[in-house]
């Protein structure tokens, strides 16, 4: 039976790969495209990070010292758009490109040319988005959620921002279709769905979320466009519209989007912890079902982002109960990871350190999320720095740490070289200290009454803001080490073996390091 699928392609040795820029422009190889996605994400991480540092610099002390409030608002807006759509999402797509074919024993992604196209849209989308900063009226300043009517006060930038969002959406949808088609059709013989590695599983579910909600975002921003330029009044009360309807539509996209940024992280952590605990993942099936439950619940909790808009009591109760329920599958995941470490034989290389930090700090973000679900208390937390602390805990030591863990974990497979372990550990400790010094005091600021998205604050908030800014600079600058470590490993270092780590599980460890340009020309057999 396997004969029919394992014929080696005859053209393997006669492709004349173009060199230089043309190679990268025209490549359809999943590894090349994965690399481009990852490097693009890294670049955007620094662009968005620079904006965060401008924000924290201004907030270092009360009073306005460096920027005008309108520019500050552009920074908060762009920081979020760039980090979400430019850094975190492309980083996960890059990891998906590299690892999904390797994990399921496929020679490439199912739709390689579309894969190339979905990457190359991104540089244009982000050039467009960043260029709005130089337009009359500046970039978007209404927060990344682009709430009307405020967003209608954007200068010339608005249509460009909307076009950029459309481009990012198209790119994401194409990437997601590619992931679904690849996983559904190109698994090696014997790899049933419930034998797939969890990173692949979480990405499969994420891809469905993307396909479901990116068009919703596209619809919402298109309505903004027609309201602005074509006289519609979807969100104008004066014309019979409702600004709150935008928020409902936006968050119907926005909440699944939150899980789009965390489910693949769950997958990465579920790969790393078993490897370094030398013990199989605890409760594999439960992990898959928990991921699916979280994905389902993500569609019915959107209004918890907008409890203060004045919804009917029954609506608020529904969204409160549904939101609280998310704690159950998320709890299952945290417990299962803990049980995976339990009675293992752990070592603490850099990927494992980041994974453990994820486990602790994502859990803290989960706790504050549970607190936010309690509507009466949410009235106090909403739009305060408590919320800022909450979502940064799930996104930075959550999503971003998981990406870094994944990069350290698979870097030897990609480059064929071990990264510098000592530098990796220093990078880890600086990051983990920086993140906590930055974001933990923000809980206190929010509870004490500091609203988010303000460029200046009352003097009683000065101490924790100063602390937070110091942490932000520690975190931000220590990421330069990350770049150095990556490029050092690309250029050389100790040779990595095929397995890299101590008998890790998964097909990706059966191919040599670095993974050759073409892998699994013959499909492996999975028992």
């Amino acid at each position: 039976m396997s004969n029919t699928v394992t014929q080696a392609p005859a053209h393997d040795d006669h492709h004349e790969a173009p060199k230089g820029l043309v190679r990268w422009l025209t490549t359809t190889n999943h590894k090349d495209i994965g690399t481009m996605y990852l490097l693009f994400a890294l670049l955007m991480f620094f662009v968005g990070g620079a904006m965060a540092l401008i924000i924290r610099l201004e907030l270092f002390q009360p009073g306005l010292q460096y920027v005008q409030p309108e520019f500050f608002n552009q920074m908060t807006t762009m920081h979020a758009l760039i980090m979400i759509f430019g850094a975190v999402m492309p980083a996960f797509v890059g990891l998906a490109n590299w690892m999904i074919p390797l994990q399921i024993g496929a020679p490439d992604m199912a739709l390689p040319r579309m894969n190339n196209f979905s990457f190359w849209i991104l540089p244009f989308a982000f050039t467009l988005l960043l260029s709005t900063l130089f337009m009359p009226g500046g970039g978007p300043a209404s927060g990344w959620t682009l709430y009307p009517p405020l967003v209608q006060q954007t200068g010339d930038a608005l249509p460009f921002v909307i076009l950029a969002i459309h481009l990012m959406g198209i790119s994401s949808i194409m990437g997601a279709i590619n992931v679904v088609v690849t996983i559904m059709n190109m698994r090696a013989p014997g790899m049933t769905l419930l034998k797939m590695p969890l990173f692949t599983w979480t990405w499969l579910i994420t891809a469905y979320l993307l396909i479901a909600v990116m068009p919703v975002l596209a619809g919402a921003v298109t309505m903004l466009l027609t309201d602005q330029f074509f006289g519609t009044t979807f969100f104008h009360a004066a014309g019979g519209g409702d600004p709150v309807m935008y928020q409902h539509i936006f968050w119907f996209f926005g909440h699944p989007e939150v899980y789009i940024m965390i489910l693949p992280a769950f997958g990465i952590i579920s790969e790393i912890i078993p490897t370094f605990a030398r013990k199989p993942l605890f409760g594999y099936d439960a992990m898959v079902y928990a991921t699916a439950s979280i994905a389902f619940l993500s569609f019915i909790v959107w209004a918890h982002h907008m409890f203060t808009v004045g919804m009917p009591l029954a609506g608020q109760l529904f969204f409160m109960f549904a939101t609280m329920l998310i704690a159950v599958p998320t709890g299952v995941k945290v417990f299962n990871w803990t049980a995976t470490m339990w009675r293992g034989a752990m070592t603490f290389e850099t990927p494992m350190l980041f994974a453990i930090a994820f486990l602790f700090l994502f859990t803290i973000g989960g706790f504050s999320g549970l607190m936010l679900s309690i509507v009466p208390a949410d009235y106090q937390y909403h739009d305060s720095y408590f919320v800022v602390a909450h979502f940064h805990y799930v996104l930075v030591p959550g999503a971003v740490f998981a990406i870094m863990a994944g990069v350290y974990y698979w870097l030897p497979k990609w480059t064929g070289h071990m990264y510098d372990e000592t530098l990796g550990k220093i990078h880890f400790w600086l990051s983990v200290i920086g993140v906590n010094v930055t974001f933990f005091p923000q809980h206190f600021l929010g509870l004490a009454g500091m609203p988010r998205r303000i460029p200046d604050y009352a003097t009683q908030f000065a101490n924790f803001n100063m602390m937070s800014s110091i942490g932000a600079f520690i975190f931000g600058l220590s990421q330069l080490m990350f770049v150095y470590i990556i490029f050092k490993a690309i250029r050389g270092g100790a040779k990595a073996t095929a397995e890299v780590w101590d008998s890790p599980k998964g097909l990706e460890w059966t191919v040599p390091s670095p993974a050759p340009h073409h892998t699994f020309d013959e499909a492996p057999q999975v028992k």
């Binding site: 405020l150 605990a277 439960a286 009591l313 609280m324 417990f335 803990t338 208390a377 739009d383 200046d456």
Partner: protein, 280 residues
């Protein structure tokens, strides 16, 4: 300038330390860590809910983190342990799925109860229409012929300009003072009708546990009943453009007599500039 700020931070740290050691009620709020209990029954309930859920999180956190930390220290290869082989246990998996459900139900009941009371705006003693504009508030006392605007106090406004050279610490209630305060009587159920003239704003006073969006073209209702007199401060909580950070809310809760006197004074001035509610 930076060193001065550092020094001030240090001084504040000392004060906070002294305040925690001293049995004083006047705790320096420079290091305020927690939500205020506030001055309404609802705000106290909200505070209790907040503390309950916080303690639930802390207890679960201590259990889970202890297991992780124990595991990190004891189950490491350098101690020569052999990894166990187990990969699931239906029994514990069912337990840690079911137990959280019961904890959540236990939490949902008081939360629902408080929410139901918060949403009940009936039987109010007075109604004030609050309109948010970029970047000030308008208060209109319905049936009282009193109506005025309330914007950032001039001292704060001067100090907050980029490069003003004015030290914010030298301004009393920097960014949290207005020219005309909203005034309400103590022990009265005050109903607010919130709307906006341009973009969405949100009216937030932490001591009342009230935060509600003011949405152009729509009216939101919210209420509070302050149990003590005093001055309570808050800020706009929904990004509303350039000066979002500069449209504070100040509510002065007065005794019934003082409130009536204030109302009378306001009415006397109607048609002319409204007088400031403070003596500044």
């Amino acid at each position: 300038m930076l060193t001065a700020t550092f020094r001030r931070g240090l001084a504040a740290a000392m004060t906070a330390l002294a305040a925690t050691l001293a049995p004083a009620a006047t705790l320096a709020n420079d290091w305020q860590l927690n939500m205020p209990i506030g001055v309404t029954d609802i705000s106290a309930d909200v505070y209790r809910l907040h503390m309950t859920i916080l303690w639930i999180c802390i207890v679960i956190g201590v259990i889970v983190f202890s297991a992780m930390i124990y595991s990190i220290f004891r189950h490491r290869k350098s101690l020569g342990v052999e990894p166990a082989k187990f990969s699931h246990s239906t029994k514990v998996e069912v337990v840690w799925t079911i137990v959280p459900v019961f904890i959540l139900i236990g939490m949902a009941i008081p939360a629902t109860e408080t929410l139901v009371r918060m949403e009940d705006t009936s039987g109010s003693d007075l109604t004030i229409k609050v309109t948010g504009y970029q970047w000030l508030w308008e208060y209109e006392y319905l049936d009282e012929d009193v109506r005025f605007f309330s914007r950032l106090h001039r001292d704060s406004d001067r100090a907050r300009q980029l490069g003003s050279g004015i030290d914010p610490f030298s301004v009393e209630n920097y960014l949290l003072e207005v020219d005309n305060r909203m005034v309400v009587p103590v022990d009265a159920k005050v109903r607010l009708l919130l709307t906006a003239g341009d973009v969405i704003h949100a009216w937030w006073v932490p001591d009342f546990a009230v935060k509600k969006d003011a949405i152009p073209g729509f009216i939101n209702e919210v209420w509070f009943q302050a149990n003590e007199t005093g001055v309570f401060r808050g800020q706009c909580a929904e990004l509303c453009g350039r000066d979002h950070g500069f449209m504070p809310i100040v509510v002065e809760v007065k005794s019934q007599e003082d409130y009536q006197a204030w109302l009378a004074a306001q009415r006397g001035e109607l048609g002319d500039r409204p007088v400031a509610s403070t003596n500044r």
